[in-house]
């Protein structure tokens, strides 16, 4: 019954969408030549592809760049990412710049069919026509790779592409980024990159049941579905809001993967490695400046975790102190002060104090390296503790870290650790 109702609601939304549907935009006006050579246009397109981190989704693990094939599991089923090399049969070799623009700007494929918003056209619609053309020129300059695409493997009703008409009516407005005249050029450049190609809010926003980002959830932090990493809020200074960060410090973090106050890890390590480290200092600074202006002071985030009684919390923390001295203090130092750019500090490190403890738990369970970048080519590593420590011990040490040296975050339940242990690592 519930399922029937759900389908009925979706169908209704679909109908509503069809009603509200607008006609496609007309052909664009030809642009003045902005580059004195085709090579320069391609180089700019390559830069934009980095800014959009197109590689991250359009390349399978160990596969040829941009040849697609990566399966992306979502709550709606698995998307198989298409090949965007200029192969005529399996890629976008027969596409025109207009086709490409329509995909980016309107979320429509060459044949007019609607694209699933797993392709973040809700962000890419903000990209200017000129940038879209450069990006297209770059993709067309790649070596064509023959890699037939697999159809998406989605569950009903999400496999009904026409449903997207309704979805778009509710959640999508096409339109290039428009400068906010009350702000500086630098701020606008940052906003353009963050909200457009950078598609930061694709991970940092909680999605609703239909996979869309509601306006009030924009960049307010989200547990990334299926990946189970928490992408912290970019608007709250309690999490990854940049209000009390120095711009230079964040530029260093995003360009090199490490800074005095911490390191990037999990999916963000990939973003730094494949995308952000390749952007100019000026562009990163602009993005940081914009993000800093979005950050707000607010109260402690409401913890979203399994509750631990006060008594159990105390026991865990006491046990955790001993474990910390034995396993962690050599690198992170006795009072969690860390070593700048090598071993992240644990004192007053927002990454450890966020509303979901999942990231801290996963780092203890699986260990990890900061990404190799031009600025930090040989990162120091953290060992995985999955085989050395029990669920209770890991809960104890994470609880201790979250409650020591001025840190105030709730203790962590061993059950939470047991759940994290079972997660696939990516």
């Amino acid at each position: 019954m519930k399922r029937f109702l759900f389908v009925a609601v979706i169908a209704l939304i679909g109908g509503l969408g069809a009603f509200l549907f607008f006609s496609r935009e007309g052909p664009h006006k030809p642009l003045a030549q902005r580059f004195d050579s085709h090579a320069k246009q391609i180089a700019h397109g390559e830069y934009l592809a980095r800014a959009g981190d197109c590689l991250a989704c359009h390349t399978s693990r160990g596969g040829e760049a941009y040849a697609g094939g990566l399966p992306i599991p979502t709550p709606f089923g698995t998307f198989h990412v298409p090949n965007i090399t200029p192969d005529a049969q399996t890629g976008i070799g027969t596409w025109t710049a207009d086709d490409f623009w329509r995909a980016l700007h309107e979320g429509r494929s060459r044949d007019g069919s609607l694209l699933y918003p797993a392709f973040p056209y809700t962000n890419y619609t903000k990209v200017t026509r000129a940038d879209a053309d450069d990006l297209f020129a770059y993709l067309q300059s790649l070596k064509p790779v023959h890699n037939p695409r697999r159809p998406h493997d989605l569950s009903f009703p999400y496999d009904q592409r026409k449903m997207l008409i309704g979805w778009r009516a509710l959640y999508f407005r096409s339109g290039e980024y428009e400068n906010d005249k009350s702000q500086s050029d630098e701020w606008n450049r940052g906003a353009y990159l963050v909200s457009g190609l950078g598609h930061c809010d694709a991970c940092h926003s909680q999605r609703n049941l239909l996979g869309a980002v509601a306006n009030d959830a924009k960049s307010a932090g989200a547990l990334i579905p299926m990946q189970n990493w928490y992408a912290p809020s970019l608007t709250s200074n309690r999490e990854a809001g940049l209000g009390d960060w120095d711009i230079g410090e964040v530029v260093e973090l995003l360009k090199t993967g490490v800074a005095e106050r911490g390191a990037v890890f999990g999916p963000m390590a990939a973003v730094v490695q494949h995308s952000l480290q390749h952007l100019t200092q000026a562009d990163i600074a602009a993005m940081v400046m914009y993000l800093k202006s979005q950050a707000q002071e607010d109260g402690l985030p409401e913890p979203d975790q399994i509750r631990v009684s006060a008594k159990q919390g105390e026991e865990l923390t006491r046990k955790g102190a001993k474990l910390y001295a034995k396993h962690c203090a050599d690198c992170h130092q006795r009072r969690g002060e860390g070593v700048p750019r090598i071993y992240p500090p644990l004192v007053n490190n927002q990454a450890i104090l966020m509303r979901y403890p999942i990231n801290s738990i996963r780092i203890v369970v699986n260990g990890g390296f900061a990404p190799s970048t031009a600025g930090n080519p040989r990162p120091y590593g953290m060992p995985p503790f999955a085989q050395d420590l029990s669920d209770e011990e890991i809960a104890a040490v994470v609880s201790y870290i979250r409650q020591s040296w001025g840190n105030h975050a709730p203790a962590v339940s061993p059950t939470e650790v047991a759940n994290a242990r079972g997660l696939p690592v990516e």
Partner: protein, 238 residues
């Protein structure tokens, strides 16, 4: 002059000692700028000196293995040709250059080998020795020693040593190749070799290999004149 210097030094020490410790913050810890320190993440499983875990089937010895082999394995884990989630995850964001350096670091480690494991029946050992050192021409099965070196310590730079590994690791890896769970660059010669071996033969090869005493610090054989009995994608032929 010396006295003056002494007085000056004493004053300096006194002055430094009188500074409240908290004033300049804690003295930053110095972290050795070494590969050993960087790779502490690997110690839990592969041991402090790359010796591996003898009882474990999944944590092999790394010390002294040919660097090209180690590099290929690191690439394979990072790029998903070899599947072991903990390794796939740890290497996910590391560059080719860094992986090459990691491989070189382990290949240079001179770590004592474990004592031989004996006790298998003579007939099984004889069968294992025959397969390892002579192969089986009737089945086009090359000897292990054709590629892995007469001393089975590997052949530089791409072919690993077979000595000093745990029996469960050897068994598991040959099994994984046979089941097509482990992959190397095509043509994948080890997949072909493994497909020719029966379970009993894998066992015989394993028990003979682990029964061999290993001389201290066997170096991989020089690979310059190596003529492989079959095509191997991991070993580019000049």
């Amino acid at each position: 002059m010396t006295v003056l210097r002494l007085v000056f030094a004493t004053l300096l020490v006194l002055f430094a000692g009188s500074l409240p410790l908290g004033a300049a913050g804690p003295i930053p810890a110095t972290v050795p700028d070494t590969m050993e320190q960087r790779l502490l993440a690997c110690v839990t499983c592969h041991g402090k000196n790359g010796e591996g875990a003898q009882k474990s089937e999944t944590y092999p010895r790394l010390a002294g293995k040919a660097d090209g082999y180690l590099y290929n394995q690191l690439l394979s884990f990072r790029d998903g040709r070899r599947v072991y989630p903990a390794m796939n995850y740890l290497l996910n964001h590391l560059s080719d250059d860094y992986l090459r350096e990691i491989a070189q670091y382990y290949s240079r480690l001179q770590t004592p080998y474990p004592a031989p494991v004996s006790g298998a029946p003579q007939a099984v050992l004889a069968r294992g020795e025959g397969l390892v050192m002579k192969g089986d021409a009737a089945r086009n099965l090359p000897a292990c020693s054709d590629c892995h070196g007469k001393a089975l310590a590997g052949t530089a730079p791409f072919i690993p040593g077979l000595v000093g590994l745990s029996p469960s690791y050897i068994r598991q890896q040959i099994g994984a190749w046979r089941a097509r769970n482990r992959h190397a660059a095509e043509p994948d010669c080890m997949a072909k070799v493994a497909s020719l071996l029966s379970t009993e033969e894998i066992s015989a090869v394993t028990v003979w290999l682990v029964a061999q005493p290993v001389p201290t610090g066997p170096a991989p054989a020089a690979g310059t004149a190596l003529k492989l009995p079959m095509d191997c994608g991991s070993v580019p032929q000049r």
